[in-house]
Symmetry: C2
DNA sequence: CCGGGCGGTGAATCGGCCC
DNA sequence: CGGGCCGATTCACCGCCCG
């Protein structure tokens, strides 16, 4: 029976106090990328940047989305270095990013010691059209490993791209919530019975997917509101 | 009736001598990314890196695939800066890259003066599975613009995701040849009756797509073998 | 219970106005 | 003149309602 733990608080404060070794780190940080100017990025909350001005839902805003690109790279590098320490040799990191922060994310991943292994695009069928230009309908997952990637037994083959829309309606509790089906593909990078760590757990989708795949889960979430709904979802899973 | 020109020679030598203004630059440079180490990358020709050792075809090798990452960024930045000079305000650049060179390519694009506008993944359904890991089945097109992107009349909406396998069999004349259907989507970023420039024309697929979409085409190709087959394909289109 | 139709939305972006 | 703020915009897709 897989088990789970959710720590409440700041990732950079809590990670140094942990000592359980894990097999995979899956992280969906605030991208810090909305807005055209640095002032836009720093001044607004995530809701103002990422949610349509006429959206009817009342999902809560989230913190930690006010860094400029250098600050973001540095912060993410620290988080990833702390998770690297907790990861077994052969373990993997999977980090979400949008197109604009992809190069910064690859810098942070490699600065933290991970070997960069690839990009897995995530295609979102419900996305805004762009007038006179190419639609921006993908987010991206960067894959890194600690040393040579683990050999699985039996051998597994994971997809090179993902597809899935954000949950809608009453199952949605977070502005940037990921579909469980997408996360279930990703957590399979951990070996059978392994442990997955998510330092930016949000609404806990990574944990739900891990439990469904028979993996243990350790999460960290700063926002009390998110942590509470994550605990509910994890307990139900 | 759209017309085309193909210059034979090195892009960095020829670009400064051109003075026709263009609406879009589409470029598929040698990625310089095969091999695990810098020594691997520099020692081999493109054929050894990108083609299976048991491949049955005998397509010619290509030059310009022996730079390390710093050299690649610098070279690509020079090419893109020279094409920037020839591009009308509001025009676009579309640059192909694989996952490993994506950050370097975004650096070069922006260093050359272009505003980075997004990433369009290109999925190649025929790709090798990765043992115990995520398949690498996408390449990426980086979109940049010179100033604010041109307003089209009528307004167009271009895709954020491309699919198409590399040509096989006797229609394939180049190791890294792109499908015409994919290139036709991309050249549409140029306005009706506009001109497309490809400084690394290869087998001329960009030009074929441009002509089919009613656009003019200017290409540059270094390899005499490739240039000859490109001329054949362009004349037929 | 199933199918068709309708209404709402998106990890924004852009133009324009005001200070 | 530059920066900040406001509101209009776009359509494929998904969920829900109703027949």
């Amino acid at each position: 029976m897989p088990n789970w733990t959710l720590h409440r608080g700041d990732a950079l404060t809590l990670l140094p106090t942990l000592d359980t070794l894990v097999d995979a780190v899956i992280c969906d940080p605030p991208y810090n990328s909305g807005g055209r100017t640095n002032a836009d990025r720093r001044a607004q909350g995530a809701r103002d940047k990422y949610v349509s001005s006429d959206a009817a839902h009342t999902l809560p805003d989230f913190d930690g989305d006010t860094r400029d690109q250098r600050g973001y790279t540095h912060w993410l590098g620290l988080v990833l270095a702390n998770t690297y320490r907790l990861t077994r040799s052969g373990g993997s990191a999977l980090v979400f990013t949008d197109w604009a922060q992809l190069p910064a994310t690859s810098d942070a991943l490699q600065a933290a010691g991970w070997t960069w292994r690839g990009i897995i695009p995530w295609r979102k069928p419900i996305s805004r059209p762009v007038k006179d230009g190419f639609r921006r309908e993908c987010e991206y997952v960067l894959w890194g490993s600690r040393g040579a990637p683990l050999r699985h037994a039996p051998t597994i083959y994971l997809p090179g791209w993902l597809e899935g829309s954000q949950p809608r309606g009453k199952t949605r509790v977070h502005i940037t919530q990921k579909p469980v089906a997408v996360m279930r593909q990703l957590v399979r990078i951990a070996p059978e019975g392994g442990t997955v760590l998510d330092p930016c757990a949000g609404s806990g989708t990574t944990g739900v997917a891990a439990l469904q795949e028979g993996l243990h889960f350790i999460g960290i979430e700063q926002s009390p509101t998110c942590a509470t709904s994550a605990e509910g979802r994890l307990a139900a899973a």
